[in-house]
C-alpha cells in the first residue's frame, strides 16, 4: 500500500508502509493517579521492523530503556509506574517510535481522580421568573480529567427529573433555568459530577422559589438637603418596578460614604419605607448614597429573600453655614485660592455642559462634584453584590 507522506508544501514523498505500521495495547486506558501501566507496541510484520528497532516517548519525552522489555520479535513493552495526573485533558500521548524517530503508533492515557461530591449549592430567582444555581466542585476540585456537571431538579412530591440546559451563566459552576417554574411547591435540586473514573452526586437541596427571590435595585434614588439642616440629607426611592406590586414587606438598606473615603456606612433599619433621612452628617460635605432591596415576604414567604445589587451611587452635599465659628475661617488665602480654582473649573464645566442655564444653583454644583468624582475612577467604588 502506498501513502503520501506530506512534507513541506512543495514536496511529496511516496513511501510504502502498512496502513497501521504498529499497534499499542491498551488503547486509551483510564487510570487513577499513582497507578502503574505496562503498554506493548507490536509492529506489523509487513513493516520490516523488529522490537529492537523501537523506543517509547510520553508527552514527547523519551522513556528510559531500562523500562523496556522485548516480549517477542515484534513486540516491545514499557512499564510506567506511579503515574501523575494527565498533562492535558485530551490525554497524555504515549507514542511508539522507530529507531529514526518515525511515529508508528500512539495511545492516549487518561490519568486522574474520580469526581468529588459537588457542594454548597445556592440558588436565586430574579423577580420569580427564573432560577439560577451555583455550586462548588468538591474539596479537591482538580481531577485532571474533564469532569462534566449536570444540575437536575424536580418538584418534591411529583414530576420527573429535569436537567438544566444553560450552563456557566454565573461562573463556571452554575446553571440557569429560564422558565416553567412552579411557586409554592418545593423543588429538589442536586448536581451530578461525572468523568471517566466515576460519578458523584451532591446532597439534595430543597427550596421554594419564593424563598430565594431577588430583584433589581430600587429605582429613581434621589438625595436632597433637608432645608438648611447641615447634618442631614433626605433619601427617596421607588420600589423595583418588576416586583412593585408584591413588595409589601420588602426591606431596604442604605449605604453612604463621604466623597473622599472608601468606607461605607450602612443603615440597616430602613424597613419597607421608600424614604429615609440620614442624620449626623458633616456640614458642607459631598456624600454618595446607594440603596438596595430585599424582597422579603413575597406571597407570605417567611424567609428572607436575597438582597439586590446596590443602586448606582447618587450624590448630594450637606449645606454649610457661613457663620460657624472656627470652621470656615480662611487660612492665609490658601483655602480661598483652592476654592477659587475649584469655582473657576466649575464655571468652565457649567459653560460647557449646562446649556442655557442662567440660574446657577447648588444642584448643579452637586452634579459637577459627582462628575468629577466619577472621572477619578479609582476613587469611585460601586458597592458589591452580596448573596
Amino acid at each position: 500500500m502506498e501513502i503520501f507522506v506530506a512534507g513541506e508544501q512543495d514536496h511529496q514523498t511516496t513511501v510504502s508502509v502498512p496502513a497501521h505500521p504498529a499497534v499499542i495495547s491498551p488503547q486509551d486506558p483510564t487510570l487513577v493517579i499513582g497507578s502503574s501501566l505496562t503498554a506493548a507496541c507490536t509492529v506489523n510484520t509487513d513493516s520490516h521492523l523488529s522490537a529492537e528497532d523501537l523506543y517509547w516517548t510520553l508527552n514527547g519525552r523519551r522513556l528510559p530503556a531500562e523500562s523496556y522489555k522485548v516480549l517477542n520479535a515484534t513486540t516491545l513493552s514499557v512499564a510506567l509506574a506511579h503515574l501523575n495526573g494527565s498533562k492535558q485533558q485530551s490525554g497524555d500521548n504515549l507514542v511508539c517510535h522507530s529507531r529514526d524517530g518515525g511515529i508508528l503508533a500512539g495511545s492516549c492515557l487518561y490519568v486522574g481522580l474520580p469526581p468529588e461530591k459537588p457542594v454548597n449549592i445556592t440558588c436565586w430567582s430574579k423577580n420569580m421568573k427564573d432560577l439560577t444555581c451555583k455550586w462548588a466542585p468538591g474539596t479537591e476540585g482538580e481531577t485532571y480529567l474533564h469532569t462534566n456537571y449536570t444540575l437536575k431538579y424536580k418538584l418534591r412530591w411529583y414530576g420527573r427529573d429535569n436537567t438544566c440546559q444553560e450552563y456557566h451563566t454565573a461562573g463556571p459552576y452554575s446553571c440557569h433555568i429560564p422558565k416553567d417554574l412552579a411557586l409554592f411547591t418545593p423543588y429538589e435540586i442536586w448536581v451530578e459530577a461525572s468523568n471517566r473514573l466515576g460519578v458523584a452526586v451532591s446532597d439534595v437541596v430543597m427550596l421554594d422559589v419564593l424563598d430565594v427571590v431577588t430583584t433589581d435595585p430600587p429605582a429613581d434614588v434621589h438625595v436632597s438637603r433637608v432645608g438648611d439642616l447641615e447634618d442631614q440629607l433626605s433619601v427617596r426611592w421607588t420600589s423595583p418596578p418588576a416586583l412593585k406590586d408584591f413588595l409589601f414587606q420588602a426591606k431596604y438598606q442604605i449605604q453612604y460614604r463621604v466623597e473622599d473615603s472608601s468606607e461605607w456606612k450602612v443603615v440597616d433599619d430602613v424597613g419597607n419605607q421608600t424614604s429615609c433621612r440620614l442624620a449626623g452628617l458633616r456640614p458642607g460635605t459631598v456624600y454618595f448614597v446607594q440603596v438596595r432591596c430585599n424582597p422579603f415576604g413575597i406571597y407570605g414567604s417567611k424567609k428572607s429573600g436575597i438582597w439586590s445589587d446596590w443602586s448606582n451611587p447618587t450624590a448630594a452635599s450637606t449645606p454649610r453655614s457661613e457663620r460657624i465659628p472656627g470652621v470656615c475661617d480662611p487660612k492665609s488665602g490658601e483655602q480661598n485660592s483652592t476654592l477659587r480654582r475649584e469655582l473657576k473649573q466649575f464655571f468652565g464645566w457649567v459653560k460647557k455642559h449646562a446649556y442655557g442655564c442662567s440660574n446657577l444653583s447648588i444642584k448643579l454644583y452637586d452634579q459637577w462634584r459627582v462628575w468629577l468624582q466619577k472621572s477619578h475612577k479609582t476613587r469611585n467604588q460601586v458597592g458589591s453584590t452580596q448573596r
Binding site: I3, F4, V5, A6, G7, Q9, D10, Q12, V17, A19, H20, P21, V23, Q27, D28, T57, N59, G60, R61, K87, Q88, Q89, S90, G91, D92, N93, L94, V95, G101, G102, I103, A105, G106, S107, C108, H146, N148
Partner: protein, 189 residues
C-alpha cells in the same frame, strides 16, 4: 464637404470584466483572512493536543483519506481546479475535526470556535472560487470524493488526523492567497 474625425472617449470597462476584478479582490481579501486564522488555528490545535504535537520536529505519517497538499502551481485553470478541489473538501473535514475535538477537548471553547469559523470561511472561499472559475470559463472537477473511510483507530489517531486537516487548511490558505493574488493582478479593476 470635409468630414471631420471625432475623438470618441475611451469605452468604459466592460461590466463582466469589472465584476470579475471585484470578485477576485474579495476572494483575495477572504483568503488573507483565512490564512491568518488558519495559522492561529493550527497553533491552538497543537497546543491542546499536548506534546509532541507542538514540537517543531513533529511529523506523523499522514493518514489515508485526506485531499493532497498543494502541488507546484501550473496555469490559471490548474490553480483554480486545485483550489476548488481542496475547498470542496476542507469545510466538511474541519467540521469532523470539530466533532472529534468536542469529545477530546470539550473545555477548549476557543479551539472549537476556531474550527467552526475555519469551516465557515472555507465554505465562503469555495463559493468565491466557483464564481471566479465560472466567470473565466474554467471547468472545475467534480466534488471531492473521499477514499474508503478510515476512521481514526483511537484518541491518538484522532489527534493526528485533526493535525493533518488543520495543516492542510493552513497550507491551502497560503496557496489560495498566492493564486488569487496572482489572478487579481492579471485582472485589475
Amino acid at each position: 464637404m470635409e468630414v471631420l474625425a471625432v475623438d470618441r472617449p475611451p469605452a468604459p470597462v466592460p461590466t463582466p470584466r469589472r465584476a470579475l476584478a471585484q470578485m477576485l479582490r474579495q476572494a483575495e481579501s477572504l483568503s488573507l483572512l483565512l490564512q491568518h486564522s488558519a495559522e492561529q488555528l493550527l497553533a491552538d490545535y497543537v497546543r491542546h493536543q499536548g506534546d509532541p504535537f507542538s514540537t517543531p520536529s513533529f511529523h506523523p505519517p499522514a493518514p489515508l483519506g485526506l485531499p493532497p497538499p498543494p502541488r507546484p502551481p501550473g496555469g490559471d485553470a490548474e490553480r483554480l481546479a486545485g483550489l476548488a478541489a481542496a475547498y470542496a473538501a476542507l469545510p466538511g473535514l474541519l467540521g469532523s475535526v470539530r466533532a472529534q475535538q468536542a469529545q477530546l477537548n470539550p473545555g477548549a471553547a476557543e479551539l472549537l470556535r476556531g474550527l467552526e469559523a475555519g469551516a465557515r470561511q472555507a465554505r465562503g472561499l469555495a463559493g468565491h472560487i466557483e464564481a471566479v472559475a465560472a466567470e473565466l470559463g474554467v471547468a472545475l472537477p467534480g466534488p471531492w470524493v473521499p477514499p474508503d473511510a478510515h476512521p481514526p483507530a483511537n484518541a491518538f489517531g484522532a489527534k493526528v488526523w485533526g493535525y493533518w486537516v488543520c495543516r492542510l487548511h493552513r497550507d491551502w490558505a497560503r496557496r489560495a492567497h498566492e493564486d488569487l493574488g496572482l489572478l487579481a493582478r492579471r485582472y485589475p479593476l
